[in-house]
Symmetry: C2
Subunit: 203 residues, 2 copies
Amino acid sequence: MATDRGMLIVVSAPAGCGKGTILAEILKDDNFCYSVSATTRNPRPGEVDGVNYHFMTVDEFKNLADNDGMLEYAQFCDNYYGTPRKFVEEKLSEGKDVILEIEVQGAMIVKKNFPEALLVFILPPSIEELRRRLHKRGTETEEVIEKRVSKASVEIEMAENYDYTFINGELETAIDDLKAIIRAERCTLKRQKNTIKEVLNNA
Amino acid sequence: MATDRGMLIVVSAPAGCGKGTILAEILKDDNFCYSVSATTRNPRPGEVDGVNYHFMTVDEFKNLADNDGMLEYAQFCDNYYGTPRKFVEEKLSEGKDVILEIEVQGAMIVKKNFPEALLVFILPPSIEELRRRLHKRGTETEEVIEKRVSKASVEIEMAENYDYTFINGELETAIDDLKAIIRAERCTLKRQKNTIKEVLNNA
């Protein structure tokens, strides 16, 4: 039996929803790969090229995008951000599941180009709780927090376009939800058509 | 918040796929209820009314069916078999998930009448392995085994109409698959629309 192609798993969540912590837990399993985004913004102190981002010049980025080298990309505040296609395609061919941690706009583009992608949106328990968490983090001004909160509301409305969504209230529960979603997705009929054929042919 | 309505979970599998063992494990969780089928056939030694089946006369059965009291029913070998509606509706209203262990024909009727039902089909690793298991059980003649095997092939072809399917090769893996499917199904967008609204309204 040939290696089954891996799944493309898109995970989005408003800032402050604990997405990074949940994904870190999922990525402990070697069967998953994390797709590192490309960006034209400057590295911040401590950021490592190829780990946090693939840092590129605007020319490099545009050249790659123009040659269909990005699964999706977008511009935020004068900087480009995108998902290099090559890494994702290679890992999927190897049968690895690839996780894209991207914004809702990018997720919608991926969904259009890869209808077989699995789209997951992580929710905060409430907008109020999200605001409390951002305050607790204490890294942003009141103004920035309110900007993030109103951005979160717009993003959460987009959750209706995803395949699955769950609340990150208790971290362990949220991790188990995401694990179950990925496991169950492998059992959906659209991914099991070959299995049915194999069972029937092996008489 | 009102109690969310439970999920209707339909599980089908050819004889010899270990469906009963898997469901017994799932039913250890009090949040699940098992829907006991009704039948007009005579009880076999050891069978208990209300546990193995609700045993009914043909008149009782037909009267219930004619008054929309069966979610689905069918006739096999001169006997009627069906799913009494009242129990299922009551438990769903209480927020319990109800498991129907029924044949493919019944499952298709339930799917038509309850589009929100979750349909799961359990596969044997192969037709060959199914035959080996039936032989090992040693309760049927060669002729009956071959009848079951050819019925299984027809049933497995119907699996394409289910939402999820997985192979029962290793029992523990199969149990985890079914648990993941039920957990993930709760996170699907069609079941989470209210959650998204609640998160947004709690600002």
